[in-house]
Symmetry: D3
Subunit: 313 residues, 6 copies
């Protein structure tokens, strides 16, 4: 697709804001990877719905080669920007089936999707779609929060804070191969972490990441997921607010962007079937710090896809 | 209550952020007016839920005397800050009955409520509550939009854009005594205004306000509402974005804050049973322009209550 | 093209940021109007190059019907977003011929272009292209500045401040049918206005607009251009900085957005062959006031095209 | 001094930030006008102390000719930037005598000072200095507030809110020739305006300005000051917050920058002995709207000095 | 008090902005800890006075359990928000005795106060009050600056920069048990650190913290304070400006929020008699980074109180 | 010059914004160091031209003693602020010879210049000037990018991205003694780093800095430059965007300000003949984080000059 593009031929900020100026199309046939927006939010993190638009907006800053693996992803991959799914923010009953169905159609084409939320609740309908194609998924969750709470406000079961519990309860991911990394911040109760462990998922706190360093964190993750197919869900609040102010539940003391990139670098070789980003909130951002970081992370997701493709061939 | 307060005794910015530093209480007995937050939003104007907090936050700037009527409202009225209603943003089915019921309890005490939204949809459950006490209400709506659309996204009937249609359909206000002022901006179709008129409500566009001036606009409103009991709903987007950038649907070419204050001044003597503000969106605000204007408008609502009380006695 | 689109079917903020979500294409065949970005700037108004991207970004806020003429432009016109021209900001010698040539190819298709600068210098290569198709053009310039200075910094002849002088010198527009409206602000010398008049173009200051009002301003403009083909160039600094802070040469005391819209409304019936916007500077903007206003103005340009088309048929 | 400067020779944003790039010197001998910073603030409008720095910072935007009178002030006047007086913000007892003394030394040289506050309290020590040279001064005060309150917080007598009362009590200005224009906003009590009138000074509210228009406002002012020597004190909060958000006591519904410039234009011919600006607060500003307006107003003060000088010669 | 509160019952952003939605009361009887605002500032860090209001404003983000000690502080402690002390910013002579007296009354009730400045000067009157109850206090000062300068501007002795010198001179703290941590940034002279050491207090620079790490820093602090009663004063500028931009004297190269939290974690078990925060400046903040960090730090102060209480029982 | 200045005599924020309030003069005779602005930018990093003005603007925050070496630079050095060179942003053909010539005149006086760009392209004309005085220069480049690309947009050879290639090609620096530190971020191709190495310059990536730490990084640099005369060019994008958001090509994962200061500290004793800063972009800055860091870095450049001077004597 963009194999011939010369990045120095014209200023990259020119043109319609697709992700990295890649072609916009609803027909993903032949694509290796599709970037997809899901502008949905349950109400308590207002502004999240603007993340897909804003990430695309700054993504022209990216060049085609990943410094983590020294791979030119435009050479290795056919990339498309699928645009946004049609969703109705606030109304999960109407929107989640639409997400699930639309994602299924994309997965059928053999594409690796990278969905941009939205709040973290949208990972649930995604996982329902993935589950139909991949019955045994290891989940890597980078997040400040466990998201394994049961019910909010007496009755809300499909929120950002309960998305991982729902996914495990419904057998969408294998908790024994899954891991949450970066947990920190004030908690509802001293049992917040245990409630994750009770569901079978491994928990690594930010303090533990800081103590053992990036290399050992990577080891821990790789050991956990083994050679399973992997879905990586990236909640931006895992990053320290200084590096990612654009999030609605800022928790000081987080991991740095250097550490995040180090972790992603360490995951090369795993078989990723999909990725998403969540809780990027442009309304809280400064100087586009968070959306630029988000664009770089999505770019490195693509590099991980390229690395697996290269090794497989 | 605050009869003895000397505004020059201590810096007004000191203290807990209640509206104008008035007492916070859930017991409104004996109050003339209660300021009430409704941090609810349907999803498409993210940030509206923060309006009550932010309006209170800047309201210390206000002094006790209205320059429009030269009345010291702290002398005339017992004012309380009721805090916020418990609502679940995004979920109208759970929240609207709560709003209706909580407002009823307040109305039972003979208080004049001033509710701070939230998006404009919250006017509907308020009007349901008012209707039980006042069966014949004239509605004054200051808004850039008619809010008389029927259905959004195939099925959503209780949105900001349909709130006035719902209220008229349900007989909550008398359209023949009701009036929309300030309509402008790009429209869904050339019939947008006629659809309001077909419901029986009078429409005054911003262009008409600009042409006839404030005095004639006031006359038109007063003629329309006659001596009925009046509910005034204030959608901040009626004001030009230069004066009120903090709104999610900015429509350039609006009326100025001076014109808004002129209109409010002209309404003295009407019997207001309630007020609300909607679509104040701190996430889009600059230099608190919009929340400061909002606080001043709420203050002038109180002055209108004081003026009616004085004249009645 | 978008004849069937139901604006209430899905949230308008969804999707790739083209102008009003209109189709992006380099093939303008069959289009009535094409929105075109020219991200070029001569250096002294840094940030102007981001205007096309940012205007598109907020343009989803627009609905399809103009309130000025009650015309649904999506019904009347085939609209496309052409994306950006390839230009090399700062280097006019390389860029201007490219602009001229690319615009010629578009004009050949009978499309009415609406170009989004960039700084005001880009009007010059545009006018060179128009001149080949329309040898007798009346220019309507809305601007705080005359842009009829000769040379900057000893040698620069193709700057924003000299663009109108160059166009007149080269016979690209007929000064006797042309008019500058909104001139104000501190000047290089008392002779700044006379230098425009000496070139044959009529000058209307902001003070004169304020004094005579919108209706007489419109009359003056219409009398000047007569029934010639018209090119309208809109320099955002004509608007008061409170309404349009996003400009690099803010001149307090300008006309309001209401007045701008009033003037545009008054121009219905003229035969516009093209439009452009200039000096919209997102780096100086607040709350997107300026880009939202810019999007509305571009939308009203389209309404003027629709009005002429309707009247002709 | 700058008689030979060619504004188009080099970009105006180059260089050290003095006011309009005028020479910085503590020796004002031979100067017609000196711009002087007084970064002093009594504590309740934090951020005012940065006004002198920020006004200078944006003043390069100005060109040398006033559009109000078509006079090139660089041709007519010798202008210097005196820098800031040494003051100790918060401590009036230490600072006011220093201001008074330093200003005396400047007045001795026959210079017309334009002082940039700081909060409005600093007008008091200025007037003490002026009084020694000009025993009979008419005061023109453009302000949203009367500043004729007596005491704050039980004992503070030299605040922004009492500065005009103090000046009149001490005989520093002749109240019978003095006038306050633009009064508005919520007040401490219904008697706030009467307390000014009781001191002998005339009060014109913003509502009155709006009603009678700029021309009659000018007439009223000129009639009041007659042919006395005039000191003009400009409190930025007289301007509507949309045009001047950078002020700590924003009062919606104010006069526009166009109206301010109209009033200043109307004052040509009066014998101004000095000017100051107050309550410009960069911490509350957006897009430099307020400091740019402030710089333009200071520039027009200079034009008024030039106009008087021309007429006298 | 809040023992029964279910944080998931209603959105935490609802309601009046007290600290963590805790009850607002001037009667601290029975409380374990009281959060108290002191909106006082000496003039050179304008904006500090808004810190208490803004910290409360974001404090709803906090949940009840500290991740550092896995303790639910709402279960362990009775917490109240005392509101603000009445102070007159800029005027220390009037304000300091008021602070001292008001704090004494609170200390008499056996409450542990957490005061939110304001500038750092307000620690002095606090220490005067503490001294009456606790004659032998170890001071832990986290700060980029030593604050042991003698006199500013020829005569000012009670400034932020001299507060620690004054406290030691007056015997309010025991320098031999006291320690300053985080010192860095450009200095008035090479002797700045020695002047602290000469007063008897230990100095640990940011460089030293970086070199030895958090664990050894904690050890150093604990060794210094021994088993004395401890007052901890937290100057926000100790944190790197990337993590805490909202401070008026930003010194690049500071400690991170992770390191700050690590240090606080290490202090569990000490007997804290009080805490304060200083130099949090909302006027310089971005995305509430600083006030959110401030709220988290205050929360962890409470956790330290809870830890001591638990261990004592 | 400033030997007698007492920093505590008056508030440092008073006065005209020269660098650290040092004297502004075009006559550098007798100065040890001159701070010089070069407000030039090639077009793709709009806003860079405002860096000199904004760095000066915040530089009053600095005190006279470097904490890295405990040296009072005002005691050791005669410092002047030269103001800005006259350049024509966007037009390198006109501007580069002017820069070269003006810098030569300064170098002739034996001054060590510290130039503030502007974009990185301006290092080229500087190096041409230095080369005439110092034929054998070691270059230390702190940068996220190699800047060794050949041509942009088909023909542009003198851009920010090619400045180091040009300098080496023209023999202006000795590549064998030169080193690039901090390289990272997405790249045009996997060969980006090798293209630098092929030119003979050593490359140290950010990852390598992170891995080996500051001490070893310093060693590597010192070994490379040996005892040659050194020019240090500082591209602000070498710093992580959290610490320096004000740059047009933000690359997440950068080195921290603490690490930058650590590296600078380690370079004491080298013979620096000049310094510059580039790519500081106030239009992208937050809370002045970047300009304050820039001012501190320039200050530490001066400290390095002082250290060499002391050791030489
Ligand atoms: Mn999370
Ligand atoms: Mn999450
Ligand atoms: Mn509306
Ligand atoms: Mn509405
Ligand atoms: Mn212009
Ligand atoms: Mn122009
Ligand atoms: Mn005022
Ligand atoms: Mn005043
Ligand atoms: Mn400090
Ligand atoms: Mn301190
Ligand atoms: Mn770089
Ligand atoms: Mn570079």
């Amino acid at each position: 697709m963009n194999k011939e593009v010369d990045l120095k031929k014209a200023p990259r900020y020119c043109g319609i804001s697709t992700f990295m100026n890649q072609p916009y199309t609803k027909d993903v046939t032949g694509a290796d990877v599709a970037v997809i927006g899901i502008p949905f939010e349950m109400g308590t993190a207002p502004g999240n719905i603007f993340a897909p638009k804003e990430i695309r907006h700054v993504s022209w800053l990216l060049r085609s080669t990943s410094p983590l693996h020294m791979v030119d992803i435009w050479k290795e991959l056919n990339i498309v920007d699928y645009g946004d799914m049609t969703v109705f923010t606030g109304d999960w009953e109407q929107s989640f089936p639409l997400i699930e169905k639309e994602l299924e159609a994309i997965l059928e084409k053999g594409v690796v999707p990278i969905c941009m939320g939205g709040c973290h609740s949208v990972t649930y309908p995604q996982l329902r779609a993935y589950h139909k194609f991949y019955p045994d998924i290891a989940l890597i969750q980078l997040d400040a929060h466990t998201d394994t709470h049961d019910v909010y406000f007496g009755k809300q079961k499909y929120t950002s804070g309960s998305v991982v519990r729902r996914a495990i309860e419904d057998g969408l991911v294998d908790p024994q191969s899954s891991i949450q990394v970066g947990i920190r911040g004030t908690m509802y109760s001293p049992g917040d972490i245990k409630q994750s462990q009770d569901l079978g998922i491994e928990v690594v706190t930010t303090d533990e990441v800081a103590e053992m360093g990036v290399a050992k964190t990577v080891e821990k993750i790789r050991r956990r997921v083994g050679n399973k197919k992997v879905f990586l869900t990236f909640d931006m609040d895992v990053v320290d607010p200084a590096f990612a102010p654009g999030t609605a539940r800022a928790e000081p003391g987080g991991i740095t962007s250097r550490e995040v990139l180090g972790i992603l670098k360490g995951l090369a070789g795993l078989e990723f079937i999909g990725f998403d980003t969540a809780e990027i909130n442009p309304s809280h951002d400064c100087a586009n710090l968070t959306t630029i970081l988000g664009a770089n992370i999505i770019f490195e997701f693509m590099a991980l896809i390229a690395m697996y493709k290269k090794q497989k061939n």
